[in-house]
Amino acid sequence: MTDATIRPEERLAAVLARLILDPAAPPARHIAVGAASPIPAAACWLVKKAGHPVRLSLLHKRSGNPFTEGTRELFDLTGQGRIDLFFLGGGQIDGQANINLIGTGEWPGMGVRFPGSFGSAFMYMMTPRTILFREEHSTRVLVPRVEHVSAPGVSAPGVFRRGTAQALVTGKGVFRFDPARARFTLDSVHAGEDAASLRDATGFDYDAPEPVPLTPEPTPEELALLRGPVCDEMLETYPEFCARVFNRRQAA
């Protein structure tokens, strides 16, 4: 059974996997994946199942959870600099790579309340690189300036931080972040999008090459890994995601 249709989630997982393996970025020897992040988790498993030596710590893994000192262990590891890469999202993300997981309107989100900041105010600053990921690409998510800063994209001189956003990946494209200029550059657009459609859907200003490259589609090998061994690993933690994207259900 080969399904030629590439699902958006599969494309995004492949995009994230390529960013993880980017030779220009600091090495990703140990990656942690947080709550409710099935696509980043799929990307990490794709990297691992493709044979790359990487240690994955999935916070929400019920059986075989990597942490034996409680949920603080992730943050202790990260505090020491032992986690190389983490993923963060945002209800709002702005052009300086600030993220808002609090909400809109008056503090603490009296307009629309988002779930809350989780570990972002620490992880973003203490991890050498972060991939920002949000499927929805719209002017309500990608804003000129976030209404509240859960975690800042750049810090004042003298404030300890190990890294910041490597890239921002959305359902429409990929941006790279330059911390020196606190500014994004469009890297590629996904199938079905173009330079103009990205500009229309993005609330913040950014640089873009001319012409804008198309995001490479997942290879047949990547798709086979995602639908097979990657899905196997994810069934327990993300049953609804696996059912929806891979049409696979956990045995009762």
Binding site: A35, A36, L59, H60, R62, S63, N65, F67, T68, E69, G70, T71, R72, E73, F75, G79, L101, I102, W107, P108, G109, M110, R113, F114, P115, G116, S117, F118, G119, S120, A121, F122, M123, Y124, M125, M126, H148, V149, S150, A151, P152, S155, A156, G158, V159, F160, R161, E236, Y238, P239, E240, F241
Partner: protein
């Protein structure tokens, strides 16, 4: 330690208490949360360790809560926490936003009996700006000026509530690798624990179980509540009842839907363990 009824554990918690709850991946006692709703608890100040889940949303919806200190409130794959969001918007609860490692660090300070502990990160976040109780100093060990670092005050909850797999007759409680429940029990004035079942021997005498065990010195009272985490998963004992959580999330979108859900799943006589 003689096990009590779940309702007796709930009766120990006075209105207005600061009550710490672990989230849905970390041994929440849904049984005890439901007993608090049945008792008509009021004025509770909840603490998410380090975030909050279904039990918090239910307690807020039932009007038991005036304040939540947490790093996030979420129902996982079932989405946003609907009663939390509604109560915040209607001004019925105060929310004190935090970030996960800060919650852990504040509890660790209480565990050690020190007044504060430092934590990296946070500077530049609006969370810090909205927490007058969190302070920034210059790192006194840096050897130079200009290394700001955040100090967090010790956080001692009045009660820690969680659901473990095993307890023995001495009152020792086995939580396995969910050591955040151990930190929480160490840091809190009282730990009230529901368990799936009683362990026939002494957990501390078993070399393999002892490292995952909380010493009875930290445990105030115990109750046996079979499937006391349901619909949340419990270690390798049982998985999450995702259909149940999704049905809750749908029902709780409205106050009326939530009340109907409560009547069926919490207040009905057959819902009482």
């Amino acid at each position: 330690m003689k096990p009590e009824a779940v309702e007796a554990l709930a009766a120990r918690i006075p209105d207005g208490a600061r009550v710490a709850l672990p989230p849905d991946n970390s041994l929440p006692s849904l049984a005890l949360a439901k007993a608090l709703i049945r008792k008509g608890a009021r004025g509770l100040r909840l603490i998410g360790v380090p975030v909050s889940g279904l039990a918090t949303d239910m307690l807020i919806g039932a009007g038991c809560v005036v304040e939540v200190e947490t790093s996030a409130v979420s129902l996982g794959e079932a989405g946003f926490a609907p009663r939390f969001s509604a109560a915040l918007k209607e001004g019925r609860i105060t929310v004190r936003d935090a970030t996960c490692p800060a919650m852990h660090t504040m509890l660790q300070a209480a565990e050690k009996g020190v007044p504060f502990m430092p934590l990296r990160g946070l500077i530049g976040s609006d969370i810090l700006r909205n927490r007058p109780d969190w302070k920034v100093i210059d790192n006194p060990f840096a050897g130079h000026d200009g290394d700001p670092i955040v100090l967090l005050p010790a956080l001692q909850p009045d009660f820690a509530l969680f659901h473990a797999v095993l307890a023995d007759r001495e009152g020792n409680v086995w939580v396995g690798r969910r050591r955040e429940c151990a930190t929480l029990a160490h840091a809190s004035r009282h730990a009230l624990v529901t368990v799936e079942r009683l362990h026939p021997g002494n957990l501390l005498e078993d070399e393999r179980l002892a490292p995952g065990t909380i010493n009875a010195t930290y445990i105030t009272a115990l109750a046996v509540a079979e499937r006391g985490a349901h619909p949340v998963a419990l270690l390798d004992e049982y998985g999450a009842d995702n259909g149940h959580v999704a049905a809750y999330a749908r029902a709780a979108r409205t106050a009326e839907g939530f009340q109907a859900w409560l009547a069926e799943h919490v207040l009905a006589p057959e819902a009482v363990a």
